[in-house]
């Protein structure tokens, strides 16, 4: 029971987080590529409920920022004007899920722009960029994991089921892939591809590159499962009744690999999100002005940004709940399928 509860808990966390990212258009107050050239590197604004006279206001408000006198890059709150925060306002146009056109935003303001997480070098809203960037990074991670698992399952099953020289060949290639330093492999692959590509192409390239590299580990796991399953009695029986290879693989062997594949998927997704971030961080991912968690962090390569604008680190924090969610889910899944399962459920503890 507690296993199931844990699993559900992590699943709910992940679903909520993903919904926020999928609904970035609604949750983000602004268009992520819109530049506000008067306000570069604006620090995060504070939302107030109490005013200077300690009066409580039901509607939250914020003070716009202005340059501190005599300074080029230091801002302070302009307490002379209080701008109310409005909820469910109409703002920049977006398409929910890329389909439903809408202008509705969770919050915003009509009189001044609000930067809850500050702005970047071009005055773009950091919160909006993190939310939209999540779409790119997470989708790249999910699709990349999908490609990898598909390849891994296919190759693993082929190697395990057919055996012989095919097994030898495929597993040696897999070992080669495992031994390769994957980051440099990613670089090499990306370097072969054309330079000027549209954002969509660049994204698909990143997904393909990530997906192609990681298949070796799931392939080996699947092969191991297939090797043991194909000797089991029900498989032999099915073969005895004249089941073809394809039938046996599909009907009897593939379902047995499901738990391995599922656990792998949950482990691979955050890994691949990180891979996408690495590529983007180094300028090989989706091009500007599109954002992804990696290229949001890219500006931290400059010393001046590193020491001056702490809110540029925030995209790095954004990945923490996602990673916790995925890893929590992975451990819950693992517990469910691990050999200790029976003992724990029966309340018997060997130690």
């Amino acid at each position: 029971m507690s296993q199931r509860l844990k699993l559900t808990k992590w699943l709910v966390v992940l679903v909520v987080l993903h919904c926020i990212v999928v609904g970035a258009g609604f949750f983000a107050p602004y268009n992520p590529v819109e530049q506000d050239r008067e306000h570069p590197y604006l620090p995060p604004m504070r939302v107030h409920l109490m005013d200077a006279q300690n009066h409580f206001h039901l509607r939250p408000f914020f003070h716009p920022l202005r340059l501190r006198t005599g300074s080029f890059d230091q801002y302070e709150e302009d307490t002379t004007s209080a701008v109310p925060l409005r909820f469910f306002t109409r703002g920049a146009a977006y398409r929910l899920l890329g389909l439903v056109p809408s202008r509705l935003h969770l919050f915003g303001s009509t009189d001044a722009r609000i930067y809850l997480l500050g702005s970047d070098a071009y005055g773009r809203d950091q919160l909006s960029r993190i939310l939209y960037g999540g779409q790119v990074s997470l989708l790249a991670g999910l699709l990349g994991a999908g490609v990898t698992l598909f390849l891994g399952a296919l190759i693993g099953m082929a190697a395990g089921y057919f055996g012989g020289w095919r097994d030898e060949l495929l597993m040696r290639v897999a070992e080669l892939f495992l031994a390769l330093p994957w980051l440099y492999l990613l670089f090499a692959l990306r370097a072969f591809l054309p330079l000027a590509v549209s954002p969509i192409q660049a994204f698909l390239l990143v997904v393909a590159v990530i997906g192609m590299v990681g298949w070796a580990r799931p392939a080996r796991l699947v092969r191991g499962v297939v090797l043991s399953v194909k000797e089991r009695d029900f498989v032999r029986a099915a073969r005895g009744f004249g089941g073809s290879d394809i039938y046996l693989l599909r009907r009897h062997i593939l379902p047995e690999t499901a738990s391995v594949l599922l656990t792998q998927a949950v482990i691979l997704v955050p890994q691949f999100v990180l891979a996408e971030m690495t590529l983007s961080f180094l300028g090989l991912g989706v091009p500007e002005p599109m954002s992804s968690w990696g290229n949001l962090l890219a500006s931290l390569q400059q010393y001046s940004v590193l020491v001056s604008y702490w809110w540029m680190y925030l995209p790095a924090l954004a990945i923490v709940p996602f990673f916790l969610g995925y890893l929590g889910l992975a451990s819950a899944l693992q517990q469910r399928t691990s050999p200790y399962k029976i003992e724990e459920q029966s309340g018997w503890n060997p130690s």
Binding site: A93, Y122, E288, Y303, S304
Partner: protein, 601 residues
């Protein structure tokens, strides 16, 4: 930051010189207190300015190890910077006033026809190893520079009117330089030609080994120069140590022989950020070539150092389009793009749509100047201030595009797309150097500016070498953002950029015939100013060149960064200039204040 230099042969070294505008000479008869055994007669140069205190050392970081200490073949910035502190020239350009001043030559005369220059050397000067200097060293120096087999990087500059200049010796102190044609730059020509020691180099020259000579690891006794400092020690990958040249030929107003400092140490610190950290921690005393971001980081926490903004330098950044005639190599797609790029109205529209103020504000944090022509406001003598500075106008840009036959279509999501006269969408890519954060930022701003005209621009950051290869060799690009920085304020330093036959004529380099009438006119004007003596006449011709460039926009000029430097408060006589080497130009006058003054601060 990497920069494309205006031309490879323009590798000038710079020798530190006078602080103020006027130089005065020590009367020959006056006996000066000398650290070494007194010579019969030494005509030293007396510099005005703050009197310093002898002793101490200065530590400066260099971006990389100097490739060579040989002024003949030095082309990279670190080599030039180091050689500048070790060598001297006949006539020198004062980096602060941008005017010429006597150096090794105490005076010069130009004949009425402008073909003969008579230079008189100072008497009693010695190389850093104590060997005396005379006219034969100068003769030898120019023979070597002009020798084709030596492959001196600056050799082209000594070919005037298709013929190399000739040098004759009249007596041990007097030389005559003969030109085939009058030469517009006049005595500025002599700046940057290090006078070489014949007694050390003649033998290797005859053996044809001159090119391999004087690497940084040369033993100090095989090296000699006329600059304020001489070679002491080189530690590969770490540092180069220079020591005071006891025979240096300048004194301060009190007659103390310069330089004040005992040692000058160059540390090799490969990244700009690491240089900032070293400066912050006090390991280095001076920092130059700062980016605006790092400058403001340092300004915010300045304690025992002072940051200075010397104003716009000579670097100009610009966007240019691929206007090469590619012939059969060109794809149909690219030919269509070139049709837009070649239309002057298209280029003018882009220029009108560029938000230059935003570039200055966001890229240079206000520490820079917007540009509408190639000559920056920092180049006071040559800038054509009558070039119009139109403010950003999208309406004007749209009117120009409409006039050129472009039209707009709007997609369902309200996004505008610019269509060319054939109804195809206008899309192109802009290359930038991935190692240059400033230009990458400019590209991102341009991308957004042009989106408002309905142009879909992709920014492609490329490694610098492959970018240059694409621009100058394979010519596979649409548009590119680059910056050029001249080493001298004189228009001749950009000859290679404006002449249609020049290798740095970036938008269409090395043409055999100018492909447009305005390029032909620029060629004619540049050739003409080359042969016109006198600043006034040349200025008029160069003003016209700037006008033509501003009108035809082969390059869309964007902005010029300020020269930003920092130095410890304990260093005296710091007067940053906008010409290279921004701080070290008066290195012989830099000194360390004594302890009491330090404590008082």
């Amino acid at each position: 930051m990497r920069k494309l230099r205006s031309s490879s042969q323009r590798c000038r070294f710079s020798v530190s010189l006078l602080l103020a505008c006027v130089s005065t000479f020590a009367p020959p008869a006056k006996c000066l207190p000398q650290p070494q055994q007194a010579n019969a007669k030494e005509e030293l140069l007396t510099l005005p300015g703050e009197i310093g205190r002898s002793g101490g050392r200065l530590v400066i970081s260099l971006r990389s190890e100097p490739k060579t200490l040989n002024p003949l073949i030095a082309a990279d910035t670190p080599s030039r910077e180091v050689i500048g502190a070790m060598q001297a020239d006949l006539v020198h350009i004062n980096r602060a006033t941008q005017l010429t001043e006597p150096a090794l030559a105490k005076s010069w005369k130009i004949s009425a026809d402008g073909l003969q220059y008579t230079l008189t050397l100072r008497q009693g000067l010695r190389f850093s190893d104590g060997h005396p200097l005379d006219a034969d060293d100068v003769l030898f120096t120019y023979r070597v520079y002009l020798d084709e087999n030596v492959h001196a990087t600056q050799r082209d500059l000594l070919i005037v009117g298709g013929k190399p200049i000739t040098v004759r010796k009249i007596d041990p102190q007097t030389l005559v330089f003969q030109f085939a044609k009058p030469y517009g730059v006049e005595e500025r020509l002599f700046d940057g030609w290090a006078i070489l020691p014949r007694h050390l180099l003649e033998k290797p020259y005859q053996e044809g080994k001159l090119g391999q000579l004087w690497t940084p690891s040369t033993p100090p006794n095989e090296w000699a120069g006329l600059g304020p400092f001489r070679l002491k020690e080189f530690v590969a990958g770490q540092k180069l140590v220079l020591e005071r040249n006891p025979y240096y030929w300048k004194t301060d107003a009190n007659g103390n022989r310069l330089p004040y400092l005992d040692e000058l140490i160059f540390l090799f610190v490969p990244s700009a950020d690491a240089q900032v950290l070293r400066f912050q921690s006090g390991e280095t005393d001076i920092i130059t070539r700062l980016s605006a971001d790092n400058f403001s980081v340092l300004s915010r926490q300045q304690r025992n150092f002072t940051m200075a903004d010397a104003g716009p330098g000579l670097e100009y950044n610009f966007l240019f389009f691929n206007l090469n005639s590619l012939g059969e190599k060109s794809s149909a797609d690219f030919t269509r793009k070139q049709k837009w790029f070649r239309d002057v109205r298209f280029r003018q529209a882009i220029s009108a749509a560029v938000d230059r103020d935003a570039i200055v504000r966001l890229v240079y944090q206000g520490r820079g100047a917007a540009l509408w022509g190639p000559v920056t406001p920092g180049n006071r003598r040559w800038v054509n201030s009558s070039i119009p500075h139109p403010s950003r106008s999208l309406e004007h840009a749209r009117a120009l595009l409409k006039d050129a036959g472009f039209s707009w279509s709007s997609a369902s999501n309200g996004e505008l797309t610019l269509l060319d006269p054939d109804g195809k969408p206008v899309e192109f890519s802009i290359l930038t150097s991935s190692s240059n954060a400033d230009r990458t930022k400019m590209a991102a701003l341009l991308q957004d500016d042009l989106k408002q005209l309905g142009m879909h621009v992709q920014v492609v950051p490329l490694e610098f070498r492959s970018l240059i290869d694409r621009v100058t060799q394979t010519k596979e690009y649409d548009a590119c953002i680059l910056g050029l920085a001249s080493f001298d304020a004189d228009p001749n330093s950009d000859l290679n950029v404006w002449l249609s036959s020049g290798g740095t004529h970036l938008w269409n380099p090395s043409q055999s015939h100018p492909s447009t009438p305005w390029e032909a006119e620029i060629d004619r004007l540049m050739e003409q100013q080359l042969a016109t003596p006198g600043y006034g006449q040349r200025k008029k011709l160069y003003d016209r060149v700037q006008e033509i460039l501003a009108e035809n926009q082969p390059m869309i000029f964007l902005a010029s960064p300020d020269i930003l430097v920092g130095a410890k408060n304990s260093i005296g006589n710091i007067h940053p200039a906008v010409l290279e080497p921004y701080v070290l130009w008066n290195v012989e006058q830099l000194y360390l204040r004594n302890g009491a003054e330090n404590a008082a601060r």
